[in-house]
C-alpha cells in the first residue's frame, strides 16, 4: 500500500462522508409526500463515498510518490506566505469585535503588506500610506456613501 497524497485525500473524504451520513440520522422524518431532510444529502453522500473509494484505488495504481514528513514540511515552507496571510486574516476576524472594521482593517492590511513586502523603514512608510488610503477610502465609501453599518469595535465605542 502506498501512502501518497491522494490516499490521504480519499481517506479524508471517506471520513467526511461517514460523519455526514451518520448526521443525517438525526434529521426529522418527512410528512406526507414531502422530501425528507436527509434524502438530498444522502443522494450526494452515496456517490461521493463511491468516488472516494475510486480515488483510493486510483491512488494505489497511479504511481504517485508516497507522502513523507519532509515532503509535508517542504510544502508548508513553500506556502509560508499564504499561511501567514490566513493567520493574519484569522486575527483580523477574531479581533473584529474589539478593533472594528476600520482599526482592524488598517492593522490587518499594514501587517499583511509588511509580512509580504518587508519590514525596511522605507517599505513600512509606503505600507502605512497604502493602508491608510485604501482602508480609510473603502471604509468611507461603504459606511458613508453606501450606508452600510460596519462593525465599530469596542475600542472606538469607548473612546
Amino acid at each position: 500500500m502506498t501512502l501518497n497524497r491522494d490516499f490521504f485525500v480519499a481517506v479524508f473524504f471517506l471520513v467526511l462522508v461517514a460523519v455526514m451520513y451518520a448526521a443525517t440520522y438525526s434529521l426529522p422524518e418527512p410528512m406526507f409526500n414531502q422530501l425528507a431532510s436527509w434524502t438530498w444529502p444522502r443522494v450526494i453522500l452515496v456517490p461521493l463515498g463511491a468516488l472516494s473509494v475510486v480515488l483510493l484505488i486510483q491512488s494505489q495504481t497511479s504511481g504517485l510518490e508516497p507522502a513523507t514528513f519532509s515532503g509535508l514540511t517542504d510544502w508548508f515552507r513553500d506556502n509560508t506566505n499564504p499561511f501567514l496571510c490566513f493567520a493574519l486574516f484569522f486575527g483580523f476576524l477574531y479581533l473584529m469585535p474589539l478593533l472594528g472594521m476600520l482599526l482592524g482593517g488598517l492593522l490587518y492590511v499594514f501587517l499583511t503588506l509588511c509580512v509580504l513586502g518587508g519590514w525596511q523603514p522605507r517599505q513600512m512608510a509606503l505600507h502605512v500610506a497604502i493602508s491608510a488610503v485604501f482602508v480609510v477610502g473603502m471604509w468611507s465609501i461603504f459606511s458613508l456613501a453606501l450606508g452600510v453599518v460596519l462593525p465599530e469595535g469596542t475600542i472606538l465605542r469607548v473612546y
Partner: protein, 550 residues
C-alpha cells in the same frame, strides 16, 4: 421583443446607469489588462457596490465589467506578451509578434475591433436566441430542471479531463456545502453540529469569493519573488491605429463571424468559457486561413479570431443564464447571485416575468461593447501605470476589500468567517489537484437542485419519472455521455470504439427527442438517427481503422 426593449431602455439609459457602466467598463478593461488579475475577480470586487443599486443598474455595471475585462486582456497580451487573462492567451501568439515588428498600434486596434464585433455579434444572438430558448425552458417540469442541473455538473466535471474523479467529487462537495443550514422543505437546521450561526447556512457569494478570489490571491503571493514583481512587464503607451485596424478587420469579416459563432457556442456549454473559445477559434482560423504560414509571426487573422471569440463567449454564457437560470461559468454564477440579492430568481420564466430586467441586460451587453471601444485609448495609459504596482500590494488590499464586501452582503460577521473558511478550502483543493469550477457550480446549484427535487417528490414518489419525461431523459443521457467524454478524448484516434462514439451519441439521443411533443422534434430525431447511422457506416468503410488526430 421591441415592446420589451422599449420598456427596458428608459430604465437603462439614465445618466447614473450610463456613468456606472462607463466606470465598470474602465475598471474591467484595467482589471483584464493586469496579468494574474482575472475578470471574475473584477466582477466579484464590483459586486458589493451593486447591493445598494437597482437590479438594472447593478447588473448593467457588472456586465460592463465583464465585457471590459474580456477586452482588457488583449492590452497586456499584445504590449508585453503576457496575457492579461486566460481568455486572451491565443491573442499573444500573433499580437505580440506584430507589436514587436513595429506595429503595436495596429495590433491593438485589430484586437479592439475584433472584440467589439465579437461582442456585438453575441449581443444580437443573445437577444434573438435567449427568449426562444426560454420558451423551450418553459416546458421544463421540476424533474427536467433537476436533470439539467445534474448534466451541468457532470459536463463541468468532465472538463477536468484526467482528473474526472476529482472533478465529480468537487461538484458533489459543492452540493454538500449547499445542504448546510436550514433545509429547503422544513426550514429545520441541518448539519450545523451545534454552531448556531451555521443555521443560516453558507451564503454562496462568500463561499464563491473565498474559493475563487481569496484562494487565488494567496496562490499568487505564494512565491516571494513573484509577489515582489510588478504586475506587468515593460509596457509603453502607444497610439491605437483605429482606422487602419478597422479596414484590416472588415476585410476579414468571414473570420470575425466564424470566430464569434465559435465563441457563442462555447459560451453556451456549461463551464467551457472564453479560456477555451479563444484557443479553439485561433486553431480554426489557422486551419482555414490562406496565410497560415504567417501564424505565430504576427498574422492579422491570429489576432482577430481569439479576440472575437472571447467577447462572444460572454453572450453565449448569458444566453443560458437568462433563458434557463443556469450559470455556465464563474461570471454568470456571480451575476446569478446578484440577481438573487435583488430578489429576482432566474428561471426559464425569468424573461417573461421580468422583461424589463432581462431586456435591460441584453441592451447593457450591447452598449458595453461600444463603451469598451471608446475607452480603450484611455485604458492603455492607465494600464502602463498599473503595471508598475507590485502584486503583493494589490493582494493585501483586495483581501481586506473582499472581507468588507462580504460583510456588506448581509451585515453579519458570519459571512466573513465563511469567506475565510472557504478561502482555506479553495487553497487546499487547488493544491491537491481538485478543479475549482465544479465546486463553485455545486454550491450555486445545490439549493436549486434540492428545491426542484422536493417539487418532484411532492407530486409523486415514483423515481421512474426521471426516465419517462423526455427532457429529463435527454439531460440524464447527455450527463452519461459527458462522464465518458474524457475517456473518449483520451483514446480518440487510438481505440476503434472512439470512432463510433459520435454515432452512438446521435442515435441514442434521438430517442428522447423522438418522445417530445410536436412534429418538428420527431423529424429532428429521425435526422439524428440518419446522421448517426451515416457516421457509423463511414467508420465501418474506413475498415475500422483508427482515426488519426493531431
Amino acid at each position: 421583443m421591441f415592446e420589451n426593449i422599449a420598456l427596458a431602455a428608459p430604465e437603462l439609459f439614465t445618466l447614473t446607469t450610463m456613468m456606472l457602466m462607463l466606470a465598470g467598463t474602465l475598471a474591467g478593461l484595467l482589471a483584464g489588462a493586469v496579468p494574474g488579475f482575472t475578470i471574475a475577480m473584477a466582477v466579484v470586487l464590483v459586486l458589493p457596490f451593486t447591493f445598494s443599486m437597482s437590479p438594472v443598474q447593478g447588473l448593467a455595471t457588472m456586465i460592463a465589467v465583464y465585457v471590459g475585462g474580456l477586452s482588457g486582456g488583449l492590452m497586456s497580451g499584445i504590449l508585453t506578451g503576457i496575457p492579461g487573462t486566460p481568455s486572451s492567451v491565443a491573442t499573444t501568439f500573433d499580437g505580440y509578434p506584430l507589436a514587436r515588428s513595429g506595429k503595436p498600434g495596429l495590433a491593438l486596434g485589430i484586437g479592439i475591433w475584433s472584440s467589439f464585433f465579437g461582442g456585438v455579434f453575441a449581443a444580437i444572438v443573445l437577444m434573438l436566441v435567449a427568449p426562444q430558448l426560454a420558451l423551450i425552458g418553459l416546458e421544463f417540469q421540476p424533474v427536467d430542471y433537476f436533470s439539467l442541473i445534474i448534466f451541468a455538473l457532470t459536463v463541468t466535471a468532465s472538463l477536468a479531463g484526467d482528473q474526472m474523479v476529482k472533478g465529480l467529487m468537487s461538484g458533489l462537495l459543492g452540493l454538500l456545502v449547499a445542504t448546510v443550514g436550514s433545509d429547503v422543505v422544513f426550514g429545520q437546521p441541518r448539519f450545523t453540529f451545534g454552531v448556531d450561526a451555521a443555521e443560516q447556512g453558507f451564503a454562496f457569494l462568500p463561499v464563491l469569493v473565498g474559493i475563487f478570489a481569496f484562494g487565488r490571491l494567496l496562490g499568487d503571493v505564494q512565491n516571494r519573488e513573484k509577489a515582489h514583481q510588478p504586475l506587468g512587464g515593460e509596457a509603453h503607451a502607444v497610439h491605437i491605429d483605429y482606422l487602419g485596424a478597422a479596414r484590416e478587420v472588415l476585410r476579414r469579416w468571414g473570420n470575425v463571424l466564424r470566430s464569434s459563432a465559435i465563441g457563442v457556442f462555447v459560451g453556451v456549454l456549461p463551464a467551457a468559457g472564453s479560456t477555451i473559445s479563444n484557443v479553439l477559434a485561433y486553431d480554426q482560423a489557422k486551419k482555414t486561413s490562406k496565410e497560415h504560414d504567417q501564424f505565430g509571426k504576427g498574422a492579422v487573422d491570429g489576432i482577430i479570431a481569439p479576440e472575437a471569440a472571447n467577447n462572444a463567449t460572454a453572450g453565449g454564457a448569458l444566453i443560458v443564464m437568462m433563458a434557463l437560470g443556469l450559470p455556465g461559468d464563474i461570471m454568470t454564477a456571480i451575476m446569478l447571485g446578484a440577481l438573487l440579492i435583488h430578489d429576482v430568481i432566474p428561471s426559464p420564466s425569468f424573461i417573461t416575468d421580468e422583461p424589463t430586467i432581462a431586456y435591460a441586460i441584453f441592451l447593457a451587453f450591447f452598449v458595453a461593447n461600444f463603451m469598451m471601444l471608446a475607452l480603450q485609448s484611455v485604458t492603455v495609459r492607465g494600464f502602463v501605470l498599473i503595471t508598475k504596482v507590485k502584486l503583493y500590494m494589490l493582494s493585501a488590499v483586495i483581501l481586506f476589500y473582499c472581507a468588507l464586501g462580504m460583510f456588506a452582503l448581509n451585515n453579519v460577521t458570519w459571512d466573513m468567517w465563511t469567506l475565510f473558511f472557504f478561502g482555506i478550502v479553495g487553497f487546499l483543493m487547488r493544491a491537491l489537484g481538485f478543479p475549482i469550477v465544479p465546486l463553485v457550480l455545486g454550491v450555486v446549484l445545490g439549493g436549486i437542485a434540492e428545491a426542484r427535487l422536493s417539487q418532484v417528490f411532492a407530486r409523486s414518489d415514483d423515481v421512474m419519472v426521471f426516465l419517462s419525461r423526455p427532457w429529463s431523459l435527454f439531460f440524464l443521457m447527455l450527463a452519461c455521455f459527458s462522464i465518458f467524454f474524457p475517456l473518449y478524448q483520451k483514446h480518440r484516434g487510438k481505440a476503434a470504439w472512439t470512432g463510433y462514439y459520435p454515432s452512438l451519441l446521435l442515435v441514442v439521443m434521438a430517442y428522447p427527442v423522438f418522445l417530445m411533443p410536436g412534429t418538428i422534434r420527431p423529424v429532428i430525431a429521425a435526422g439524428m438517427i440518419v446522421a448517426g447511422l451515416g457516421l457509423a457506416v463511414l467508420q465501418l468503410r474506413r475498415g475500422r481503422a483508427p482515426q488519426t488526430t493531431e
